[in-house]
């Protein structure tokens, strides 16, 4: 266990511009610390929990050191060749199999190649965040064109903010990660419930957001009471609504104790130590998503507000050089969705994705 911990740390340190003596110094320090905790009677897994996962501590350890860029073999050639490969494949699909549509989607390999080649150089954690718009777009279009499932097919786009948060997991505590992901779990659950006609009752799934948040409360007894009031309130609300003849206004009374207790404890923020700005971005995007969705009934595109989350994560966590390359998929996806949705130009709007390889090539040269 100790050797694996130190090996993992050493592999991560190899990605930074740091002389080998300094690297060895860090490894020796952690080796010493590990031994000291063992001597104090801790088990290996307890020691590793105390020291922190190598991925979560690497930022502190490498402060002021740049990441090493390791160009992927032949990356420039692969980026340059991808448009030709895409065009030839598109023509074969079109002329050979009459698959002009959805064969045009093959052009998405051009931006995908550019992102992999550009971000792969520094093994960015956010590589999958930057690639997710493509996976989601292809899935969304196939669901829409083939099965006419534009709604709730748009939900696949939620994978983008979820990945944005997931790839930042090493800078968060587990409970903060769950709290940050809870709005998306709620949105998916609410849409599925709504699909089956449970819009009126289904909104209670949004209460999982405070439910996870309350776990952060420092006083365990208060935390348990608070959770009890919340779960009891939801159970009571659903019971009154579904099994009695009473109207929903009366059913809401079941949540009053939880509401009052929350007001009483409102001096404390439910999302604990999650960075304040992350909290704000998640909450604002959720509000905007619901507000625009309900007011204009445009759920198919109102999820675009959630892109603010990965955009924020990339803006703060990815280095200057890769930042613009990582951000262009989100800009492109927003333009693609707006043009496709409002002007029904899906077959043309994909061209906007070409700004990604263009940006990557421009940055690399």
């Amino acid at each position: 266990m100790k050797s694996k911990y130190l090996k993992d740390l050493s592999i991560l340190l190899d990605d930074y511009q740091m002389d080998r003596f300094e690297k060895q110094d860090i490894i020796n320090d952690y080796s010493e610390m590990y031994d000291e905790w063992i001597e104090k009677g801790y088990y290996e897994d307890e020691v590793e929990k105390k020291l922190g996962h190598p991925r979560s501590i690497i930022r502190d350890l490498t402060e002021g050191h740049k990441k090493i860029e390791r160009p992927l073999p032949g990356s420039e050639k692969v980026i340059a060749l991808s448009p030709f490969v895409a065009t030839i494949t598109f023509l074969i699909l079109g002329f050979g199999f009459d698959l002009w549509h959805p064969g045009w989607m093959i052009f998405l390999i051009i931006p995908v190649t550019a992102i992999i080649m550009s971000m792969g150089k520094t093994k960015q954690d956010h590589l999958s965040t930057a690639l997710s718009p493509f996976g989601a777009t292809v899935t969304f279009l196939l669901l829409g064109f083939v099965f006419d499932l534009w709604h709730p097919g748009w939900m696949v786009f939620l994978i983008i903010p979820v990945l944005g948060i997931w790839n930042s997991r090493y800078s968060m505590r587990k409970i903060d990660l769950l709290t940050a992901l809870s709005p998306f779990i709620a949105v998916v659950a609410y849409t599925v419930l709504g699909y089956y006609g449970y819009f009126a009752e289904g909104w209670v799934v949004f209460l999982i957001i405070p439910m996870f948040g309350i776990f952060n409360y420092p006083n365990k007894k208060v935390m348990l009471l608070w959770e009890f009031l919340l779960i009891g309130g939801v159970t009571g609300y659903l019971y009154i609504l579904l099994y009695t003849e009473t109207s929903w206004e009366y059913a809401l009374l079941a949540l009053v104790p939880f509401g009052l207790f929350s007001l009483y404890k409102s001096d404390w923020s439910i999302d604990g130590n999650m960075p304040k700005r992350y909290r704000l971005v998640v909450v604002l995007s959720l509000i905007a998503f619901l507000a625009v969705g309900f007011i204009f009934s445009v759920w198919t595109i109102s999820w675009l507000f959630f892109l603010a989350i990965p955009v924020y994560a990339i803006s703060t966590e990815v280095g200057n050089k890769q930042r613009i390359v990582a951000l262009t998929p989100f800009i492109a996806l927003t333009i693609f969705m707006l043009v496709g949705y409002f002007f029904n130009l899906w077959h043309l709007s994909w061209i906007v994705f070409l700004i990604i390889p263009m940006t990557a090539i421009y940055k690399n040269t």
Binding site: D25, D29, E32, M33, E36, E39, K50, D60, L61, E63
Partner: protein, 107 residues
């Protein structure tokens, strides 16, 4: 508390502790953490940085059981830096106390 601000204060505490007696990393963390909430991942980078800046010297001491320990001792440059930090810190605290005291008097 702002993490940058806290790190600055911990840096001064590390200098102070090592100026009192030579210590190894774990011993230093153990001592400081009795007064302030700190962990290894904050203190070790500070120790390495201050050593790199020439404020600490290091030497190893072999133990009866286990691997030898790396001890840190303060250099002359480190002592000068510490007194400079202490002076700035006292001046800063005096200002803060004057402001806080002033507010209280107004009440």
């Amino acid at each position: 508390m702002n993490s940058q601000f806290k790190r600055g204060i911990i840096e001064m505490c590390v200098l102070k502790m090592i100026s009192r007696e030579d210590m190894y990393g774990f011993q230093l963390i153990d001592t400081i953490s009795q007064e302030i909430e700190v962990n290894e991942n904050t203190v070790y980078p500070i120790l390495r940085r201050l050593t790199k800046q020439g404020l600490f010297d290091t030497y190893t001491k072999s133990m009866n059981i286990g691997a030898p320990r790396k001890y840190y001792s303060i250099t002359e440059e480190g002592t000068l830096k510490l007194s400079e930090y202490e002076g700035e810190w006292r001046k800063f605290l005096d200002g803060v106390y004057r402001i806080l005291g002033g507010n209280e008097n107004e009440k």
